[in-house]
Every structure is written in C-alpha cells, then in structure tokens.
C-alpha cells in the first residue's frame, strides 16, 4: 500500500525513483592500478591517471566489468554485451580530468526487476532502469582552512556502479526497503560492501507528488542521502514541502536539492537554468566495451544463492514464516549461521533461538555475528539438548547466557552445573511424594474441588528439583497421584 500525504485538498501520492551509487569492492580503480583502500592518508592512492596528468590515458580494469555483470545478473537485469564509455564534462577541483568517465547512451546493464519486502508482509516489484559503470570524483575538504579548500584524490577514479530505478517506489517505507534490498543483493554478490558510513553506497532520491491517477508531477532530485534514516526523513520532508507548495498555488521547480541531515530539510542546490550541460560524448580514449554472452553465462554459474531465492527456500524447506525467513536472510553470514544451527535439528526452534536469543544478546552487547562467542555448532548443540529433553527450554536460556559469557559448550555447562533434566519417573515420584506429604491441607483442598491448586503443586515440584524435572513428566505423574 502506497503511503499518501494528506493535504488540504485530499490525498497525494508520492512517486520516487532512486539512483544508487555503489563503489565496487575491488583493490584497484576503474581505469588505473591505484589502490582503493578506505582511510589512507590524503593523496597517497593517486596514480598519474587519477591526477589527470598531461598525456595520461585510462585503461579499463576488467575485474570491474565482471563485478558489474555479476551485479546486473543479481538484479535480474539485461546484460549488454556492447556498451560505451562516455565523458561527462564539468569543472570541479576534485574532478581532475574536467570530465567523469561514465556510460550514457549504452550502459553495461539494462532493464530488470527486483522484489522488495514491505513491513505489512507484502512484496512489491521495483523496476531497474539500468546500471552503468563510472569513475568516482575526489573529495573537496572545506573545513581545514578558513579560506582554502583542499582536494584529496584518493577516491578519484574509484569504480562506481550507478543503479537507477524506475519511478515505482511510492513512499518512505518502500524506498528504505528498496535501498536495503539493493544493499543486501550487492553484499550477497560481494560486488559492494554496502558500507554507507564510509560512503561506499550513496543514494540520490527523485521525488514528485501527484493526485492518484494524475500524470507525473515535477520532480526534485535530492542529493547527499547517505543512510536509510535519511532516505525516510528526506522523503517525508520533501513530499510535504511539495504538497504545501502546490496547495498554496505555487509550482514545484525541477531542481537539484541537498539533504541537510542536521536541520532535517532539503534545500536548493541549483535550478534547471543553472543545470550543467554535461556535453556527453563517447570517450575517444576507450574502445566500446564488448564481451561474449558465453562469458556472461560463465559468471552466472558462479552466482551465489540470492536473498529472495534463499528466503523462499527457508520458507519452503524449513517451514519458517515470511518474517523469520526475511530476518535470517538479511545478511548472507546470518543465513549461513542459521543453516549451520538448523542442520538436522528443529528448524523452527533454531530460527527462534537465532533471531530472538542470539541476535538479541549480540545487539545488547554491541557485537556483530562474526564476533559472536557462540559458534553455530555450539548453538546447534544447545538446541539438540532441548530437543532430546536433556534440558528444558527455561534452563537452556541460563545455559545460553553462560555460553555467551564463558565461551564454553552447552554440554560442559550442563555437566559442570548438574543441570541435566530429570526424566527418571522414580526420582520425580519421590519429589512429588515429598511435596504432597509436606502440604496435606492443600491436597485436601484440591481434592475438595480447588483445581487451581494443581499449578501450586507443579511449582513446588519444579522448585524442589531445582528446575531440572521434566515439566511434562511432572504434570503426568502429579495428575496420577492426585487422582
């Protein structure tokens, strides 16, 4: 369900298209051999090509092409075996060539479609318009000197994939779901680390509003939207701004706006009149990019199972709910962990333990799954102890906490602390007899019709057994004794 904006004149529909810039996970740049490592000292990862020294020429890094093809396949998109690099011309100090090498009319990846999961449990398809390869620019640093701007070219020439969506997204929830899904797919494919904090994934959001059924309204392009939260906030702000403008009888300008994450507002960067004429033309330093379909087919063979495929498999093979499956597949490592835990065990129980207990305690301790002191094998062993009635679910939670703090295995902890569940009926009967003998008044009251006292007896037995008595056995035996 699309989220509407309520205006004075009724409901308005939000129409969103997104452009996601994803830095390709790769050691060297798109057209040079310089390193792409994040966090190096300024201007230490700059080749002559990246600095656009006179006479320097770009040479395409084939690994980047492979990553783009992988990504295109992962987005269920058309792979173009013929594509063209074009120059996008504009002046800026952190753009050494005076142009960005990008792709314009002939991108490497064409139309496709991905599925997003909505909070209400529904799914929606979002169209992919294209994916193209391009160089990143350097970075202008404005806060080091009162008057001067410094330029760091470490990022100059890094390989980006720009993924453009169709205007199929209708609201902040869908937009964040879309961005999350793209990020998830890229991380599964290992073509982008999806790290938005380090800028390896950035989004531009195109927003317009319209009355349902009307033609598309004038859109504003919002730049600098660099977190999931910012996507949501900027859409809410911008949609409201546009509705208010139109309802006040004004027009939405087609312009580029900047998201201010501090003031939580968008503001105009440049209007259509000031828009750059990028004077795109095919880069004469580079031949058209061509490769064989058979190479694409080979890459297809090496693709991992993708999030949606995995989700459906978890739902079908492990009988998980859509929600549980979605949580588990959000990260490839999480899904792998779960599968290790669930192997030959109770798959639903395993899902509960991973989602509710493990992810919960990790979050509380600010740890990632990779840092978990409990391995999948260890958690699996704990679940096995529950399933075979060695320990109860309640005891298991104590054991789990102990495992997390000590790193010991479940079996060791159960042994050391003598937590093994008592299922021996003789031993339980002895305890029951003791409890009944100690509480003759309550026995009489129960027999006189006070059924509710049954829980009291169960509690006493469990207490006496220090929680180790098998609850089902206690129930059964108590019923027999009390008649």
């Amino acid at each position: 369900m699309a989220k509407m904006v309520q205006g004075e004149t009724g409901d308005w529909e939000i129409v969103i298209g997104m452009e996601i810039h994803a830095q390709i996970s790769i050691e060297s740049k798109l057209f040079s051999g310089a390193s792409t490592k994040f966090g190096a000292a300024p201007n230490t990862q700059v080749s002559l090509v990246d600095a656009a020294m006179p006479g320097m020429l770009p040479v395409l890094n084939e690994k980047c092409v492979e990553q783009a093809v992988r990504t295109g396949l992962g987005l269920n998109s058309q792979i173009n075996t013929y594509s063209v690099f074009a120059r996008k011309n504009y002046f800026y100090p952190d753009l050494p060539q005076g142009y960005q090498i990008s792709q314009f009319e002939d991108p490497i990846v064409g139309k496709g479609e991905i599925e997003i999961d909505l909070p209400d449990g529904n799914v929606k398809n979002i169209g992919i318009t294209r994916l193209h390869l391009e160089q990143d620019a350097g970075k202008s640093v404005h806060d080091q000197h009162p008057k001067k701007t410094y330029v760091d070219l470490n990022r100059s020439g890094c390989a980006l994939m720009e993924i453009v969506s169709e205007p199929d997204i209708s609201g902040p929830e869908e937009a964040t779901a879309y961005l999350s899904k793209i990020r998830m797919i890229l991380r599964y494919l290992e073509t982008c680390d999806g790290n938005m904090d380090e800028g390896s994934m950035r989004a531009d959001v195109n927003i317009s509003v319209r009355k349902p059924g009307d033609a598309l309204g004038t859109r504003a392009e919002i730049k600098n939207v660099n977190s999931l939260k910012a996507v949501q906030q900027c859409i809410e702000f911008e949609a409201r701004r546009q509705v208010d403008l139109i309802e006040d009888g004004e027009k939405v300008a087609q312009e580029t706006r900047l998201w201010d994450p501090v003031k939580l507002e968008t503001r105009s960067m440049r209007s259509k009149e000031d828009a750059h004429d990028y004077r795109y033309f095919p880069d004469p330093d580079l031949l058209p990019l061509t490769f064989k379909q058979s190479w694409v087919d080979e890459i297809k063979q090496t693709l991992p199972e993708l999030p949606d495929q995995k989700k459906h498999r978890f739902m079908n093979d492990f009988a998980l709910s859509r929600y549980d499956a979605s949580v588990l597949i959000a990260e490839r490592s999480r899904a792998d962990y779960y599968e290790d835990v669930a192997q030959e065990r109770d798959t639903k129980l395993a899902a509960n333990w991973v989602i509710n207990e493990l992810l919960g305690i990790l979050r509380k301790n600010d740890k990632t799954l990779e840092e978990s002191p409990i391995s999948a094998e260890q958690l699996g062993a704990l679940i096995a102890l529950i399933s075979d009635d060695t320990i109860s679910g309640k005891i298991a939670k104590d054991v789990f906490a102990e495992m997390f703090s000590s790193g010991k295995s479940a079996a060791t902890i159960v042994d050391e602390k003598g937590l093994k569940q008592v299922t021996d009926t003789g031993a339980i009967e002895t305890i029951i007899d003791e409890v009944l003998a100690e509480n003759p008044d309550n026995v009489a009251a129960y027999k006189g019709g006070k059924d509710k006292l049954f829980g009291f007896f169960v509690g006493q037995v469990m207490k006496k057994s220090q929680g180790k008595a098998n609850p089902a056995a206690v129930n059964k035996l108590l019923k027999g004794k009390l008649g």
């Binding site: 656009a52 006179p54 006479g55 002046f91 100090p93 005076g98």
Partner: protein, 495 residues
C-alpha cells in the same frame, strides 16, 4: 667525408659502426648546428647536456657490442611528448614550467634503442595550427626562403619546429604528431620526408592530447629509409593505451625494395580542387609518370565524400579538444591565476594560459557537444567520418595505395592567412581525409615551385600497410632526386 650533419640516419649508423666518428662527435656537431640556427626558433627547450650524456653512454654501448637500432642518433622531440625531468609545454603558456615525472612511450622506445635527444621542438599551441604561429614561444622560421626574397616563411604546422630542425640539419630526425596533417604538411613545406602511421601504430601514452581519435605520433627525416628506421623504433603495442593496436611491427626499411611492379596506384579525382596551383598539378602528374615508369599501374579512383572532410574534422577535433583540455584548470599543475574565487581562478587561468586559436577551438568544440547541437554537429560528423573511411576502403579494393599532393601550396609567409581561420584550415585539405580514416600517409619532397620552395607528394596506404606506403614513397624519392638544400643551411659555414 661530408659534414656529420649532412648524413642520413642510415649512413650515420654505418659510420658509427665503422668508428669513423663517435656518438659524442655526432651529437656535438648537431649541438653546434642547433646553436647556429637558434634564430629559427625551432626549439622551446634545448637539452645539449642530456644529448652529450646520452651520446657518451651510446659510445660505451657500441664499444661493448650492445648498440641499439638507433644508438647515438641525435633526434629532436616535439614538445608534445612528455619527457621525464625535461620541461614539456605543448607550446602553451598554461604548461610553462611543467616538468613531467614520466616518459612518453614513444620517447622511451626511442631512448631504449639508443637515440639521443637534442631538445624539445616548437609547435603550434597544443598542436592546433598549420603555420606554427600559435606557439606561446614565438613562431618557427622555415629554413627555406623564396629565391631572391628574405621574407621569413612558415615551416607549416603543427610540428613546424621538428620539420624545420630536420630541414636545417640540426638533427637527423625528429618526432612529430599528426592529427589532421601536422607531420605531412610541414614536411612538404620544409622539403623533407614525414610519415604518419596508421592510427594505433604508436602509443599515445604520455603524448599531450589534442584530439584523441585522430592524434598519431610519426616521424621526420631526410630520407624515406630514415623514416622507416625511426618508425620501427617508435611503434608497437602499449597496454597503457587502449587504442594502441596489438600488432607486430614489421621491419619497415626492408620494404624499400624499389619494386612496385604490378602495384596499382589510385589517383583520387576529388583531390583536383579548384584553384590548385598549376605547379602542384604538374608535380602530381610527374609523380604519376614516375610510378608508371617503375612498373606500377595508375587508375583514377573516387573518394566521393572528400568535400566534407574538412568540415567533419573541424567538428570532431575541436569537440575532443574541448574535453581533453579541461584538465588544464590551474588546480594541480601549470599556470594558475591568483584568484580567491574558484570560478574566477578557472576563467582567468584559462584566459591567460591559452592562446587565441586554442580558445577558438575550445569554443567550437564546446558548442558542437552542447545539448541541442550535439546531434546536428558531433553525431553527424561521426556519420560522415564513417562514410569517408568507407570511401578509402572501397578505393583500396581497386588499388594498393593513393598518390596525392600533400598541401595546396608551398610555404607561405609568416602572418599570411592569419586574418582568416578558414583559409588557414584549407592547408589541411589533402591530409585531413586520411587522418579521419586513420590511414598511414607519407609526404616526400618531390620538386620545387617557381619560387624555389619545396613541394611534397603524399602516398596514402591501407590500414596497417605502412610497408607499401614506404615502398611507393621510396620509388618517388629515387625518381624525384630531390637534392635541394634550404638557403639558410647553404649560407651558414659549418666547417
């Protein structure tokens, strides 16, 4: 023995091998000639110290039997090739004082073969021009004079400094670059031989770009054979240039057999342009007769889109240049205006740094790529370019090479044609079509006009068939027996 500066490269190599003289002596003779002819302004940067040092090493290599293919040969390098540790300017103020920390592939290959560098030669700014008058460092003077007339003439352009230096016997050979005729036209104006190979034969890495899809390095020397020797050293696949062809380099000099029996030479009828001087028509006719006398057949061929070549070139080349020259922004190297505001800094840096012709072409190119004009200019020009290439390929189904004049005139006076850019652009009318098609072309001095100025004939070949071009050019050279020497050289006593 003749003067060392009179020698061809081939004969100098023999002399060095025979220990008739040393590389140091050869270098010194040319350094002296460079000093004698400094008035020609052929060099932006002279590097006599480097030359002597390289010559010393060369003598040692030769003594130990490790001499390379061009060991000890003094050359001049067009100041468009980046040279490690030596100022490289492209004849522009914007690169004044720029010292590259890298060596262009072409010069590296020459040095690897033992060549000696005398200096960096003057050119039209960023190779944009046909008269060498757009250089920030002043125009080059052609060593040739009209008979009985001391007027300074242009050496042609853009590689005017290289052509003048070879003609004046300051160096034995020189590198040039040819985008629309920048080797062949100055070779014709200076009475020497200049070769532009197939696009992709020489790496463009480290050569300052003018128009990337057209720029191609080439050679100047005083004989066809010398050009073949130089080109062999400079050529070859370079992984650092994506447009450099992965093709083996033949021994071009070995193609100079003189045997063109059975070859078919095409004479393009569209090159008989209106207003072509009678002397040039007559020279062209003589060329045809020479080739026939050597056993070739000549046929008339048609290159129907020739008429559109100049217009096409003057859209594509400026379009690419407008983008290629964007990197000269004052931010990282070269000239920079002292302005606080970014836009002011850009505008004034470029206003001060670029000359009139460069600005004109940046404007033309920016216009041709602008939204709304791109299809009408750039896209259309690319389509016509394909038709022009197709013309040549069709002609080469019927013939092995083409013979044409190189330029529509002999050298003109400095300052002539300056009032009208279009008139200046017409200098390239016979050289531009082969550039657009990426074909190899050579200009050979074949005669003089009534004023005693040299005139060249051009041989154009199939893509990658430089061997046929050299072979045919060798025959023209033999039969033309061009033995004229520039007055400037005759006048100066060397001994």
């Amino acid at each position: 023995m003749s003067k060392l500066t009179d020698l061809t490269i081939a004969s100098a190599l023999t002399g060095l091998d025979n220990k008739d003289f040393t590389a140091v002596e050869l270098a010194q003779a040319h350094i002296d000639a460079m000093a004698e002819h400094s008035a020609l302004n052929a060099f932006i940067t002279e590097t006599p110290d480097i030359a002597l040092k390289q010559a010393e090493s060369s003598d040692k290599r030769r003594a130990s039997g490790d001499a390379g293919a061009l060991d000890g040969i003094p050359l001049a390098i067009k100041d468009l090739f980046c040279t490690n540790g030596v100022q490289t300017t492209a004849a522009s103020r914007i690169l004044e004082g720029f010292i590259p920390q890298y060596e262009s592939t072409v010069t590296q290959k020459l040095f690897d073969d033992g060549a000696v560098m005398l200096g960096k030669t003057n050119l039209d700014e960023f190779a944009m021009g046909s008269s060498n008058t757009t250089s920030y460092y002043g125009n080059v003077i052609n060593p040739w004079k009209r008979e009985g007339d001391d007027t300074d003439l242009t050496p042609g352009g853009s590689s005017g400094g290289s052509a003048a230096a070879v003609a004046a016997q300051i160096c034995m050979g020189a590198t040039g670059t040819d985008t629309g005729g920048s080797i062949r036209q100055p070779a014709s104006f200076c009475g020497i031989t200049g070769m532009k190979p197939t696009y992709g034969r020489c790496s463009r890495w480290g050569t300052i770009a003018f128009a990337s899809s057209l720029d191609q390095a080439g050679t100047f020397a005083r004989s066809v054979e010398d050009n073949a020797l130089l080109l062999r050293s400079m050529s070859g696949h370079d992984p650092k240039d994506s447009t450099s062809a992965n093709k083996s380099v033949p021994d071009f000099a070995a193609a100079l057999t003189g045997d063109i029996k059975g070859k078919v030479i095409g004479i393009p009828k569209e090159y008989r342009v209106d207003g072509m001087p009678e002397e040039i028509s007559a020279l062209w006719q003589r060329g045809i007769e020479w080739l026939e006398s050597a056993g070739a057949t000549t046929i008339e061929v048609s290159l129907p889109h020739t008429h559109y070549a100049l217009a096409t070139y003057y859209v594509i080349a400026p379009a690419e240049a407008s983008s290629n020259l964007a990197r000269y922004d004052g931010v990282r190297f070269g000239h920079r205006a002292k302005e606080d505001d970014l836009t002011d800094m850009y505008e004034i840096t470029r206003a001060e740094g670029f000359g009139e012709e460069v600005k004109r072409r940046i404007m033309i190119g920016t216009y041709a790529l602008s939204s709304g004009y791109y299809d009408a200019y750039y896209i259309k020009a690319q389509k016509v370019r394909r038709l022009i290439s197709q013309d040549f390929l069709s002609a080469f189904e019927k013939c092995d090479a083409l013979l044409t004049p190189t330029a529509p005139s002999s050298a003109f006076a400095i300052g002539e044609n300056e009032d009208d850019p279009i008139k200046m652009y017409l200098n390239d009318v016979f050289t531009v079509p082969a550039s657009l098609a990426g074909l190899p072309g050579i200009s050979i001095p074949a005669g003089v006009d009534a004023q005693g100025l040299p005139l060249g004939l051009q041989v154009i070949g199939r893509p990658w068939d430089e061997e046929t071009v050299f072979k045919v050019a060798g025959v023209v050279e033999n039969l033309a027996q061009f033995a004229y020497v520039p007055q400037t050289v005759k006048r100066l006593p060397h001994d």
